[in-house]
Amino acid sequence: MKDIVCMSGVELLMEYLEGALAPDVRAAIEAHVAGCQRCDAFIASYLETPRIVRDATRMEMPADLEASLLAALRRAMHRHDG
C-alpha cells in the first residue's frame, strides 16, 4: 500500500481508532505517527474533543420538569383513550 502522510492518516483516523482497518494499513499509520509530531498533536486533540464538548454540555433537567412532563403525558394518554 501507499505510504501514509498526515492527510491520508487523518482521513483514516476514526477507522483506525475503532479497529476497522486491515493490519497493513494500521501498521503504516502507526509507522507514520511514530515519526510525526504534528499527527501526534493532532490525534491528542482529536481524542480530547468529545470530552470537552461533553463536559461543557452536561445539562441537568430542571427539578420541576418531571411533574409538568407527567401531567402533559397523562393528558395526552387520556385524550388518546377517549
Binding site: 492527510m7 504534528r38 486533540s45 470537552i52 461533553r54 461543557a56 441537568e60 418531571e66 412532563l69 403525558l73
Partner: protein
Amino acid sequence: MTVRAAESSDEALAALAATGDEAAFETLVLRYQHRVFRLACRLASETDAPDIMQDAFVQVYRHISAFRGGARFSTWLYRIVTNAGLMHRRARARRPAESLDELLPRFDADGRLEDTPDALRAASRVDELLDRQVLAKKAQAAIEGLPDLYREAFVLRDLEELSTADVAQVLGVEPATVRQRVHRARLMVREYLGALAGDRP
C-alpha cells in the same frame, strides 16, 4: 403489576405499556427522562428540550405497540427523540450563528498538516483557557453549527457515548457511515475549539 416496575427490563415494561399499562409507561418515562432531556438539549437547545421531550414521549406512548422486542427499547427511544429534535429544528428554521461546514484541517501540497504541533494541540487546552459558561455556550454553538447528519452522529456517539453499532441502529445506517459522520463532525469541532483556544494569531 405483578412484577415490580423498578426491577423490570425496559422491554418488559414496553410490552406492558403496549397493553395499556400506564404505570409501566410512566416507569419508562422516569427511567429515561434525564437522558432524553440531555439529548434534546444537545440536539436542539435547552429552551426546546421540554417540548421535544414531551413530543417524543407522546410518540412513544402512541406507537408502543409497534415497538418490536427484537430491538432494544433505548435504541427505539433514541431514534424517536432524534427525529423529534430534527422536527423542532426545522420548525424553527433557525440558521446557526456559525456554520462549521468549512472547518477542516489544512494540509500542504505533500499532504502534511500545515499547523505546528503546538497549534494542533491547542484544541485540547480550550477548557483550561475559557470560562466555564463561555465554553458551555461555545460548545452548544459548535454542535448547532454542524450539518444535521453530522450533528446527530456526533451527539449520539461522542456526547451520549452510545456505541457505533447502537448509533447505526438509531440512525438506520451502516456502522461505516456512522464512523464517517462522527469523524467529519469531530474534525470540524476540533478546528472550532482550536480557533477558540487561539491556535492561530
